[in-house]
Amino acid sequence: MGALKLDNVVKTYANGHQAMKGISLDINEGEFLVLVGPSGCGKSTTLRSIAGLESITSGEIHIADERVDELPPAKRDIAMVFQNYALYPHMTVYNNMAYGLKNRGYSAADIAEKVNAAAKMLELTDYLQRKPGQLSGGQRQRVAMGRAMVRQPKLFLFDEPLSNLDASLRLQMRLEIKRLQRSLGTTSVFVTHDQVEAMTLADRLVIMNKGEIEQVGTPKEVYHKPQTTFVAKFLGSPAMNLLPATLVGKNQLKLDDGQLIAIPDQEDAVQDGQRLYLGLRPENVSLTNEGNGLINFVAKVSEELGATQLLHGEVANTPFSLNLSQFDQHETEHFSLTFDPQQIHLFDYETGERVNA
C-alpha cells in the first residue's frame, strides 16, 4: 500500500507548455522523498499538483488509496510548507497554527493542546502571541513547520522551504526538518534545486528534467550509478567529467585525440565502434608519477579548498577536473591520470543512457 501514488500525471498549460509529461511515482508510508532538478524541470508543478493548487490534465493522484486529483486542496489531508513561509501576516503565531484546525471544526481545547504541543517541540512557546512580522527568518520557518504539523496530515509537502535562509540557518533547519520528520513519521515530499539538501534529506531522490523523471533511487544509488548523463552531471560538485570516446573491441576506449584507454571487459550490450561518453568523477581520478599513466591530462588552474584541491585542465581538448587530497606544485603542466576501473560510467553518446553495469 502506497502513501502517495502518481499515475502517469500530465500537466499541459494553456499556452501549450508541458510541465509534466507523464509522471508516475509510488511513495511508501513514512518515506522522505525529494524532488530535485534545475528550474523549469517540473518539480514544483508536481508538488503543486499533489497539493491541488494546480489541476492536472490527465492521470491520477492517490493519497492513501483515495483518489484525490479532483478534490480541493483543503480536502486532501495534506499540509504544505512554502518557500516564503506564507504565514498569515495579520494573525499571531498561535492563530497561524490554529487556523486550519478551527476551519476543520476542532474544539478550542483540542486546538490549544495541539498548538501548544507543536510550539513546544519547535521552541516557539514564547512567541505564540507575536505576529510573523516580529519574528526572524528561522522562527518564521518554524511557525510554517508548526502550522503543517498541528494538523497531523497524511502528507507533508515542502516547496524549497530553506532557500530563503542564510547558509548556517539552512544547515540547522535541514537537520531539524529531518529530525522532525523521523519522529513524526509522516510521509513527506520535498522539492529543492539544491543537490546537497537533496542528498542529505532524502530516503529516495527523484531527479527530474524537462517534465520527465530521469531517475529514482536512494542518494547512494543515484550518485554511484547515475542512469543518464543528465543525472551524472547534475549531482556532484565539481560535476562528473564526461569524455567523448569510441569503444574499440571489448575493453578499450579511444578518445578523440587518439589515445587509447584500457577499461574492464564490456558486455554484449555495447558493441565495437560504438560512440560513448566515459564518465569519471573528479574524486575517482588520481595523478601518477610514472610516465606510463593511462590518460594524458594538461593542467590549467588549481583551486585550494583546504581539505582538498581542485585541479582544472583538459583531456583530449575536453575540460576535465580533478579533486585531489594531496597535490604538490609541479614544474610541468602535463600529467598522467589513473582511475579505479570499478568507478567508471559509460553512457551512450546519442541517448545519454547508461550502458555499463
Binding site: A14, A51, G52, L53, P72, P73, A74, K75, R76, I78, A79, M80, F82, Q83, N84, Y85, A86, L87, Y88, P89, H90, Y99, G100, N103, K131, P132, G133, R147
Partner: protein
C-alpha cells in the same frame, strides 16, 4: 526626514532648485490660507470698503445658521453614503477581477477609464440622462411607479447626486482594491486554500483583513472626494437645488464667498473645512501608526 548619506555640498544649486516650489506655495498656498484665517475674524461693510475685527462672530453666525447646519448634515450623510457604496461596488468588482485568471487587464481597462472624466462633465451628462424631457432614467423609474422629480424633490435629487458620484468614484477604488488584492502573496492565498475549504470564509478571515489597510486608506480618499472634488458635479447637476438640499460645504463656500460675496462668512467656512481636513489627516496618521504594521 531621511536624506541620502552621500550628498553634494558647497553648491548654490539646492537653493536655485527649491525656490520655485517655495515661491509658488508661499504666494498661492500660505498667503490665501492665512488670508482665509484672517478674514474669518473680520466683518466687511457691504461695499467692501472697510472691515473691522469681530472676533468669533462669523463662526457664531455660521453655527447658528440652520442653513449651514443642514448643509453640514447633508455633506456628512452624502459623503458616507457615497463612500460606502463606491467602496462596496469596487470591492466586489476587484475581487471578481482578481479571481479570474485571464483578461484581468482588459477588465481593468474597461473599469478604470471613467476616472478620466471630469466631475463637471459627468454632472452635465447626468443632467441630460436624468432630464424629464429627454432623459431615459425618469421614464424608467416612472414605469416602476416612482415619480422621479429631482428638480423639486430633495430625496430624488440626493439619490441622483449620490448615484452619479458613486459612478465617478468606483474606478479609483477598483484600481486600489485590485492592487491590494494582487499584493497579497500568492502563497499566502494557497496556504489558506489548504487550511480552509470555504471560499467565503477564506475571504473574510484572510483576504479582507489583509485588505483592511487599503480599505482604510480609501475611506479617507473617498471622504475627501465627496467633500471637495464633487464640486463640479453638483454645480452642473443640481447647483445645490432643490432649496439647498444638495449643497455640500465646499459648494456653500463658493456660493457665499464668490456669488454672495460675504468674505467673512465664507472665510470662516473655509477655516472650518481646513479643521475638518486636519482632523481627517490626524485620524489617518493615528491609524497608520497603530494598525498597518504587520
Amino acid at each position: 526626514m531621511a536624506t541620502k548619506r552621500v550628498q553634494f555640498s558647497h553648491s548654490p544649486i539646492p537653493y536655485l532648485f527649491i525656490v520655485p516650489q517655495l515661491a509658488i506655495i508661499a504666494v498661492f498656498f500660505f498667503w490665501p490660507a492665512l488670508q482665509a484665517l484672517y478674514l474669518s475674524f473680520m466683518l466687511e461693510d457691504p461695499w467692501g470698503l472697510s472691515s473691522q475685527f469681530v472676533g468669533f462672530e462669523n463662526y457664531v453666525e455660521l453655527f447658528s445658521s440652520s442653513e449651514y447646519l443642514s448643509t453640514f448634515a447633508f455633506t456628512l450623510l452624502y459623503s458616507s453614503i457615497v463612500t460606502v457604496f463606491s467602496l462596496g461596488v469596487a470591492l466586489v468588482l476587484a475581487v471578481k477581477a482578481n479571481a479570474i485568471l485571464r483578461g484581468q487587464s482588459t477588465y481593468q481597462l474597461l473599469l478604470t477609464w471613467v476616472y478620466a472624466i471630469a466631475p463637471a462633465a459627468a454632472g452635465i451628462m447626468a443632467y441630460f440622462i436624468f432630464n424629464r424631457n429627454i432623459g431615459v432614467v425618469p421614464e424608467f423609474l416612472n414605469s416602476f411607479g416612482w415619480d422621479f422629480r429631482p428638480d423639486t424633490n430633495s430625496f430624488d435629487a440626493t439619490a441622483m447626486v449620490i448615484l452619479v458620484s458613486v459612478w465617478k468614484q468606483v474606478p479609483v477604488n477598483f484600481v486600489f482594491f485590485l492592487a491590494g488584492l494582487n499584493s497579497i502573496s500568492k502563497s499566502v492565498r494557497e496556504a489558506a486554500q489548504m487550511d480552509c475549504e470555504s471560499d467565503s470564509r477564506r475571504f473574510w478571515t484572510i483576504t479582507f483583513p489583509l485588505l483592511a489597510p487599503t480599505a482604510f486608506f480609501l475611506l479617507v480618499i473617498n471622504i475627501t472626494y465627496a467633500f471637495f472634488e464633487t464640486f463640479g458635479l453638483i454645480d452642473t447637476l443640481t447647483q445645490g437645488r432643490p432649496g439647498g438640499s444638495t449643497t455640500t460645504l465646499v459648494y456653500k463656500v463658493y456660493q457665499d464667498g464668490f456669488i454672495g460675496a460675504d468674505l467673512g462668512l465664507s472665510s470662516a467656512q473655509s477655516v472650518v473645512l481646513m479643521l475638518l481636513v486636519l482632523l481627517l489627516t490626524f485620524v489617518q496618521f493615528k491609524f497608520i501608526e497603530r494598525k498597518v504594521h504587520y
